[in-house]
């Protein structure tokens, strides 16, 4: 669930053309932030994959020549990434889609919403050490 903006959070913002050619910048930024938070490398790789997937989702729904906004905010060891771009469809991805399955497996929490400016926003939340799935049978 998107929280109201936490004033104590450290924020990193990135604006990129909505094109796959620039997605690597978002991945790299996310990885660098997670490394600062001392996430284990397998979690960092998960985050990279999740950012990639989220960017692909918003790009697929973005009109040509639009801009992706990525905002990373850090509170304690919690990392929250909001990835958004203008939306053509005005809808959010289905929670039963494969993309959603992938995102849910990669991060602790994922949400999608349409902002008041008609942007599709994908929100990823993560903690350093994965605890969510440990009690589930593998």
């Amino acid at each position: 669930m998107p929280q109201s903006t936490d004033p104590a959070a450290t924020r990193v913002q990135l604006r990129l053309p909505a094109s796959t050619a620039y997605v690597s910048l978002a991945r790299t930024a996310a990885a660098a932030i997670a490394a600062r938070l001392d996430y284990p490398v397998d979690r960092i790789d998960d985050l990279r994959l999740a950012v990639d997937e989220a960017c692909a989702l918003v790009i697929a729904d973005a009109p040509p020549d639009s801009v992706i906004e990525c905002e990373f905010s850090v509170t304690g060891d919690a990392l929250r990434a909001e990835i958004s771009s203008p939306s053509r469809s005005g809808g959010t991805p289905s929670h039963n889609s494969f993309a959603w399955t992938v995102l849910s497996a990669l991060v602790d929490d994922v949400d999608a919403l349409i902002s008041t400016e008609d942007r599709l926003v994908i929100v990823l939340s993560m903690h350093g050490f994965e605890v969510a799935h440990l009690d589930e049978p593998a």
Partner: protein
């Protein structure tokens, strides 16, 4: 494809076809314009082995063979459309840079580096080893800071190395395949219908999953449907976590491609 593309006689024949195409194209007669379309298609087919030949240089860089053939063919079509037989250059000489250029652009567009410097290749090797040792000692994957300390390098260097080790970089993914004797839980996992049952695009997804190489498919199922961590999968399959990450990224690109563009499936 049995159409010959080399040899002096074929070159002469090919040249004739290209000259003929140029004539037909400038004609006002609709019949001849249609003939030009047909001849153009023939010429494309005739030169597919050239695309195939050039694609071979770019295999093992994490992109599916068929995708490379597809973009290479776009280069070929452009070359056929722009070729001017009066210039006196061989068609293959003219077409090669166009085709290669298209393939390289494809790699660039996907954020793939076409070349990884030697320094990074060595760093990658060292990181894989340190990652394994530390994972073993700590019982979890190490952090970037821990890897930096272990290798006596900066955290930025570790990040750079990890980045270059991900699927977005040029790596050979061959070799080090599963030991056939190591039967494990993972080995018994086919495509689990129960796991897929909730995914609404499963009708499209299933054939795409089936088209993945066995090992990639297993990793995708274990990570996304069985919720094993990358490190658990690495242990399960006897490969490094970095390799798991690489294969996951590669599989996701393929699946995403197929899901968003049904013609690719």
């Amino acid at each position: 494809m049995s159409v010959p593309t080399t040899g002096v006689r074929d070159r002469a024949f090919e040249r004739e076809l290209l000259v003929h195409l140029a004539q037909l194209r400038s004609s006002d007669d609709p019949g001849e314009r249609r003939e030009a379309e047909r001849l153009r298609a023939d010429l494309i087919r005739l030169h597919l082995p050239l695309v195939e030949h050039l694609v071979r240089r770019f295999l093992d860089r994490g992109e599916p063979h068929d995708d490379l053939v597809q973009v290479g063919t776009i280069g070929l079509i452009n070359a056929i459309d722009r070729f001017d037989p009066d210039r006196g250059v061989e068609f293959s000489t003219y077409a090669t840079p166009t085709i290669v250029g298209e393939i390289k652009r494809h790699f660039r567009d996907r954020g793939w580096a076409v070349r990884v410097p030697r320094r990074l290749q060595e760093l990658r090797g060292a990181l894989t080893k340190a990652n394994e040792t530390l994972s073993h000692d700590l019982g979890r994957a190490p952090t970037v800071a821990e890897l930096a300390r272990k290798l006596d390098i900066t955290e930025d260097e570790v990040l750079e190395g990890l980045e270059s080790a991900s699927a977005y970089a040029t790596v050979s993914l061959d070799g080090g395949f599963d030991d056939p004797d190591s039967a494990s839980v993972a080995d018994t996992l086919g495509i689990d219908d129960e796991a897929l049952a909730l995914v609404e695009d499963r009708a499209t997804l299933r054939p795409l999953l089936e088209a993945l190489p066995e090992r990639e498919r297993r990793i995708v199922m274990l990570r996304f449907f069985n919720n094993l961590t990358q490190s658990q999968i690495a242990e399960e399959m006897g490969i490094s976590q970095m390799h798991v990450s690489r294969l996951l990224a590669r599989s996701l690109v393929k699946l995403r491609h197929g899901l968003t563009d049904p013609d690719h499936a």
